[in-house]
Amino acid sequence: MSIISVGPKSKVTTSLAMAETVFLTGAFIAGLATLLYDKFPLQQSWQSFILSLHISFAMLTAFFGVALYTATSRERRRGLALLGMANAIFIGIAAAGGLLFYSTLDYVYSYVMALAFVGAYVTAVSCIFY
């Protein structure tokens, strides 16, 4: 089937994409709070709480991203499979950026994480509504 073709979509894909969107939203809000309120190295416990929240949501995002990728790869619509694959790739880029930032404290990797987030969010939302 061609890329832009409308047909049935399994409920598993929709549910996983909804959970993925919720976790991505949480990761974004916690990450923005980390950027705005935290100063590295961390001194206060509430600062490390925000950072832990961000990392927990990011890990949940990674797990559900892999699950969403397997669910979309079983769809008959090729566009959905491509969107799921793009979602997994963007999450990989964001995770690599976050890990590199945490080890080097170079702000370029933080920017990479922020830019890859947009791609991951758009593809996750598209798996709900497409």
């Binding site: 969107t21 705005l36 939302v125």
Partner: protein, 137 residues
């Protein structure tokens, strides 16, 4: 003939649902540009003057106009879900704009920047929902 056919197909896609698809594509591109300019300011400590804040504000104005156009275009279709999504898009853009104006206009407190980010994420959600719903329905 091949190129002509591709162009016509793209025009059909963009004009779907009374041009909601085309306007959403434009808004998605503008939102990405606005985000990359706005996110560079706190990450690289650029301060509230210079080219990054200018690009951010011009992008924000374009997004506000486009969200109004999407609301108008979706209201002329008969799809209730499209209308609700466009209304949410408009309200989230309005929220982000007001938080940004408070932040820029003197109340320099990080919570207003966080509110701007929450408005952005709502606008991005409703915009990509509009785009892909409009493509597939």
């Amino acid at each position: 003939m091949k190129l002509e056919e591709t162009v016509y197909r793209f025009m059909d896609l963009v004009a779907k649902n009374n041009y909601v698809t085309g306007l959403s594509i434009l808004q998605l591109l503008t939102l990405t540009a606005l985000y990359s300019a706005g996110m560079a300011i706190p990450i690289f400590n650029l301060g509230l003057q210079g080219s990054a804040i200018t690009a951010h504000i011009y992008g924000a104005i374009t997004v506000a106009v486009l969200s109004l156009l999407i609301l108008a275009a979706s209201w002329r279709t008969s799809d209730l879900r499209l209308r609700v999504l466009a209304l949410f898009n408009f309200l989230f853009v309005l929220m982000a704009a007001f938080e940004g104006l408070f932040y820029f206009g003197g109340f320099v407190d990080p919570s207003y920047a966080l509110g701007m980010g929450i408005g952005f994420i709502g606008a991005l959600f409703s915009n990509s929902a509009l785009l892909f719903y409009s493509i597939s329905h």
